[in-house]
Symmetry: C2
Subunit: 394 residues, 2 copies
């Protein structure tokens, strides 16, 4: 196990009706709140009214910025930063899924950053943001885990770049998760969310770090819970108890815990980001295509890790004298699971042809911009490796 | 699943040499630190010097209070409160195991409480402490989980009462866990710690709440990790990797996560507290005696829960057509495990005869003081039930 620094201070208020308390919960921390949301579904569902009334009843001033789209745009974040400065906003409430929350975090750190907020995403680990507006969230799509993480991903639509950034200061102060708010999600959003949260665990689970009993078992606990309950919510979207499991699992998948002491991978996420940067596909759908291809390409580098995946996660039974047989059966079961969830399994199904594969591979490893930074850790992936994975996913 | 409020803000710095950074870590939060510790083993080991130098190098003033004993005493906490007031201490650093940390929390909240700190323990849930001095910890015994929890247990030695109290404000700001500091623990302390952390999971695992997939699996992950690694550290106390698992598991066992959304039990802890209040035995040793007796007494009230325990935690294989057979085998394996760890299995081995069993049963349910408050939740335990459990443990 490696040394680690675990910090997950976001308070999680979980269950029925919790969103009605948002005003009272924010009051000790806020005077003027930016209410940040997406395309208006929260207005149709009545959630907007609930939240607005609760904030007003608590005596808070409210400024609004809606219009966040999936793969949230840098341009809207810049607009939010200007708005917060102009209006002296001191708190951001994100009501939505990961895109809204990620956009809120971009705004929150951008308000205090002297330059353009995109610079932070460009500089990445070379810069640690220390100061940002406090953020709270009301989650409407369980997927990104952004409600407890310090991470944000933004798309620079002019440059067709999608970059992530993370810092402890970006962890939300509190997040409200009422699984009833998930009842009206369309099936494709449910499935995309499930693929995303599973990937958050996979990126941590697949590691060359040894002596990781506890986090191995925690990863398997989260994955097993998702694999059991995801088909239930897909087919019975008003099943509160199954949604509780998915909503809770999505948060635990990405609050950092299950990756502590491990070298994390993040190859699949980076490979997928290139797809959604150019083709604006759903992140989860892209992950469902990329992940099994990645597994097939890398498993020989750590046979034992992938045997464990097949047996402990995918429930494969069979001969341990044929480890590769177990592994390939495990990968096949994962593909079947994604298929059962209605997720795509090839780039073709995503409407992506071979035209940009080399370009995306070179962008992913940043060789396009000079020095190459290989992706992934379990196996280091140079641009030719990334290209091979894209080709396996065709 | 029940609604829940999860808040575990303690930052955990885990691994080799982390304690050397304590001064730098505390500096942004402290000017004058109370260094609180136990019987002097940290002086022998050199940890005291490391910590003191680090605090001094960071320019912090230090006031000292050593002498915390197992089952930490109210009298010392009162002394600490007066000292902190007199010296204008603004931060408490607890260097030790659960007793030192619990004592530090008593001092931390006592400084701001207008009455005697024991009143807080007496009032329990009727009072929520909002203000307390910030606490950091350097853990020397993995057991109590106090390094991440908001809980504290204190013994009022005059009244032979041992009461717990908990509030979010008591969660440590940060805790340093370097498993190398556990290398010199005596075998009985290792074993007692293991019994304590297992019990923290059991108290949450055994529940009548249904639809708890994720937390069931998380509990099993923590328990499985402990059961695998505890015998390793007992027999090879310089095994860093196994200690990492135990140290990490002890913290996850009690930061609240694995009990979220579940009705928790806490019957065994309350029954044990009566033993250590009168006989001053080690908490973990008491739990090792009480827990299997409690299981035998209550399992019929939730057969499915205990079948799950037998199969998923204790690894029992056998006929599901004989659920009681599975359960009794599971309980027997737990007793065997405790025995292998060198823990006692009867009250007699703890030197406790039958003289006070009825008195302790009546104290436990507080019927001695008027209205009876039954213990436990999976099965409500009135004083006659508690007496029956003590008798099963004889």
């Amino acid at each position: 196990m490696q040394n680690f620094d675990f910090y997950a201070p976001a308070r999680i208020l979980f269950g029925k009706d919790e969103e009605k308390r948002v005003g009272e919960l924010l009051k000790p921390h806020a005077t003027k709140v930016l209410l940040h949301y997406g395309g208006g579904s929260i207005k149709k569902s009545g959630l907007y009214d609930t939240v607005f009334s609760s904030l007003k009843a608590a005596g808070l001033s409210v400024v609004e910025l809606g219009g966040v789209m999936p793969n949230p745009r840098l341009s809207l974040a810049r607009e939010g930063i200007e708005l917060c400065k102009k209006e002296d906003v001191d708190f951001i409430l994100a009501v939505g899924g990961g895109s809204v929350i990620d956009s809120a975090k971009a705004i929150a750190m951008g308000v205090y950053y002297p330059g353009d907020v995109w610079e932070i995403y460009m500089k990445g680990r070379m810069l640690q943001v220390k100061k940002s507006l406090p953020v709270a969230t009301i989650l409407t799509i369980p997927a990104a885990g952004s409600e407890s993480s310090g991470d944000t991903v933004i798309t620079n639509e002019e440059k067709q770049l999608k970059y992530g950034y993370g810092a402890p200061a970006l962890r939300p102060l509190l997040s409200i998760i009422n699984p009833e708010l998930f009842f009206t999600l369309p099936k494709n959003q449910i499935a995309n969310g499930v693929a995303d949260m599973m990937s958050h665990v996979f990126e941590r689970y697949f590691t060359n770090t040894t002596n990781t009993d506890l986090t191995d078992r925690l990863c398997e606990a989260v994955l097993g819970t998702i694999i059991k309950n995801a088909p239930i919510v897909l087919n019975d979207p008003r099943n509160y108890e199954a949604w509780c499991e998915i909503g809770f699992a999505g948060t635990v998948a990405h609050n950092g815990l299950v990756g502590m002491g491990r070298q994390e991978d993040w190859g699949c996420h980076d490979i997928e980001h290139e797809l959604s940067a150019i083709y604006d596909i759903a992140h989860g759908a892209g992950l469902a295509v990329v992940t099994p291809a990645w597994m097939k390409y890398v498993y020989k580098d750590n046979i034992n890790m992938f045997v464990q995946f097949a047996v402990n996660v995918m429930g494969v039974k069979g001969s341990f004298r044929d480890p590769e047989g177990l592994i390939l059966e495990g990968i096949a079961r994962l593909s079947e699971f994604f298929h059962k969830m209605g997720l795509p399994s090839t780039l073709g199904e995503l409407g992506i042809d071979g035209a940009n594969l080399e370009l995306m591979s070179k962008k992913a490893s940043r060789i396009q911009f000079g020095d190459e930074y290989p992706l992934g850790r379990l196996k280091k992936l140079y641009w030719q490796d990334i290209l091979a994975i894209y080709k396996l996913a065709q």
